[in-house]
């Protein structure tokens, strides 16, 4: 059945970088997510939207096995990165995260210099080449270079919130991951810094594939190519999230197929 379903979701199968199919996902006995299939296309931005507690962050964290850190996490389904199931027992989650990087909700630079923050991934991988070059390039791509080039030895924590988040983006892209997962990257930022990060995301998709979770519907509408709407199902006693609708952002916002989507987007609940 899967074999029949997958092609229908994947126009131009080769462009799918991550093929995520979650049957069921548990934290202990709590069923957090069910029936969610999201194909993530190369060099595009895919947004996950939905009300709080619908499991959109959980789905995102599945994509680079960050959920492995959560106690009682169990997963039924598959996440294929370039055709390889990253939940295969032979796959090392640490290596997965080197290809699929992550930017978190709270800016979380390390308490070390700006330079060392960006060079952290290079140090992890024992990079022998020119670190300064890589750091500069990552900071330029994260649109932070001009603001920090004179104070690379200052602590990353001395920057403003928006700068810290761009520093985290620079840190994530310094090791050239293929995919960048962003978990509500702007929710701790003011509108100016938010706009800055959004512009950055649109630039970055030339080189990277981005998946983003956002509370902000306008943000999804502004930056995302594809959008998935997740909703909470309370009918079976629990609070289980599931994918209601997935499609091109424009189609999902202008002419949603599902009633729930339409209601959520028009602000009738949420």
């Amino acid at each position: 059945m899967l074999a029949e379903q997958t092609p229908s979701l994947t126009p131009g199968r080769d462009n799918i970088v991550i093929d995520c199919d979650i049957n069921q996902l548990f934290y202990g006995t709590f069923k957090a997510v069910r029936d969610t299939q999201i194909p993530i296309v190369k060099n595009s931005i895919t947004a996950f939207i939905g009300p709080s507690g619908c499991g959109k962050s959980t789905v995102l964290r599945c994509l680079n096995r960050m959920n492995d850190l959560v106690r009682g996490f169990r997963f039924d389904g598959h996440v294929r990165y370039r055709g390889r199931d990253i939940y295969d027992p032979n796959v090392d989650p640490v290596s997965v995260r080197r290809y699929i990087g992550m930017v978190f909700q709270q800016p979380n630079p390390f308490g070390m210099s700006i330079f060392n923050n960006v060079a952290f991934g290079l140090r992890l991988n024992n990079y022998k080449g020119n670190k300064a070059e890589k750091v500069e390039s990552a900071l330029r791509r994260a649109a932070l270079w001009d603001e920090v080039k004179d104070k690379l030895n200052k602590s990353g924590l001395s920057l403003s919130g928006g700068q810290q988040q761009r520093l985290c983006i620079a840190r994530a892209i310094a090791t050239e991951p293929e995919v960048l997962l962003m978990d509500e990257p702007c929710s701790a930022l003011d509108p100016v810094a938010t706009r800055r990060i959004e512009e950055l995301m649109v630039e970055l998709k030339q080189q990277y594939t981005i998946a983003i979770v956002t509370h902000n519907l306008q943000q999804a509408a502004r930056v995302a190519d594809k959008t998935g709407f997740l909703y909470v199902d309370t009918t079976q006693g629990g609070r289980t999230g599931y994918l209601v609708e997935f499609g091109d952002t424009k189609q999902l916002f202008d002419s949603p197929k599902e009633k729930h989507t339409q209601q959520y987007i028009s602000g009738e609940f949420g």
Binding site: M66, M102, N108, F110, R171
Partner: protein, 311 residues
């Protein structure tokens, strides 16, 4: 909501908005019971604080006055005098204390910090971790003389004599729990988002611990180490059974005699304070002053290192 019009004939009364507010309540007055109570309690707290500080300052005062008289380069660098001899000092005991605390640190700091790391990273329901944590907490309140008895039974009897090594092992038992518990605490204080960031970057658990968590927790860990050192330096009981005392230098004839009875400041004070010779009693005071200063400095260093700011 629309106002319902007043019934005709009824005149709407304008209320004074400040009616019932008695401005005299703003005045300070001792007649009000809670004000009086507050004053008495404040006075009591101040009094008790002063009372608690009296013993502390009188001890420091006595030490400075009586120990200060005899404190000299000679006292710091000479071996202890014989019974009726004049002069002499406690140089060998100073070295003995430094060496034994040093060896105790070499044993307990790596063990303690690594255990602290393990405890901080263990799952909450891990049985071994809870057992270790419990044991460390019990050991914190462990009577220090028992550490001496243990080292006596396990080291002195086995090696056939009192020694600096036996003393160090007794001291390390006392240092270990403090280091374990403060290291765990310091590592736990590192915010989870920092750990997430490292793991999200593709760091292995080992890389996360050594490149991110330990550097971030280092000031807290060092504070614990300093506290443990300060405690060990002042201990007497565990050394009585283990290192005993010696009138001679630890290093003689070009070799360091770690397997011989070894002097320490604490035991020297214990020995000399009780003898009827003025010279020895004076030296005990001076040694006490030196010991207190060492502990004080160690504590101050620990304080200065203690974490003021986390991420």
């Amino acid at each position: 909501m629309a106002r319902v019009p007043q019934q005709s004939g009824e005149v709407p009364q304008v209320q004074d908005p400040f009616e019932g507010v008695d401005l005299e309540n703003l005045e300070r007055s001792l007649m009000r019971p809670r004000t009086l109570f507050d004053l008495i309690m404040s006075g009591l707290v101040t009094l008790m604080t002063v009372l608690a500080l009296i013993p502390l300052f009188s001890v420091v005062w006595m030490l400075v006055v009586r120990g200060g008289q005899r404190l000299s380069l000679e006292a710091l660098t000479s071996a202890p005098p014989a019974a009726l001899e004049e002069g002499g000092g406690f140089g060998n005991a100073l070295i003995g204390t430094l060496v034994m605390v040093g060896i105790a640190g070499l044993i307990s700091i790596p063990t303690g910090v690594l255990t602290g790391i393990y405890l901080s990273q263990a799952e909450p329901d891990e049985k071994a971790a809870s057992a270790i944590r419990f044991a460390a907490k019990v050991l914190t309140g462990f009577p220090s003389i028992l550490a001496g008895v243990f080292a006596y039974g396990s080291v002195v009897l086995l090696t056939g004599g009192f020694s600096a090594v036996a003393g160090s092992i007794a001291l390390s038992i006392l240092m270990l729990p403090t280091i374990v518990l403060t290291s765990e605490e310091a590592l736990r204080m590192v915010p989870p988002k920092v750990r997430d960031a490292a793991i999200g970057m593709g760091a292995t658990p080992t890389q996360t611990v050594w490149m991110i968590l330990v550097p971030a927790a280092a000031p807290g860990v060092l504070t614990g180490v300093m506290l443990a050192i300060a405690r060990a330096a002042g201990e007497t009981a565990p050394l009585l059974f283990t290192a005993l005392f010696s009138n001679y230098w630890l290093a003689g004839n070009g070799s360091v005699e770690l397997m011989q009875p070894t002097a320490s400041l604490a035991v020297l004070i214990y020995n000399f304070a009780g003898v009827p010779f003025d010279n020895q009693v004076e030296l005990a005071w001076a040694a006490a002053l030196v010991l207190v200063l060492m502990v004080l400095v160690t504590n101050l260093v620990g304080q200065a290192l203690s974490p003021r700011r986390v991420h």
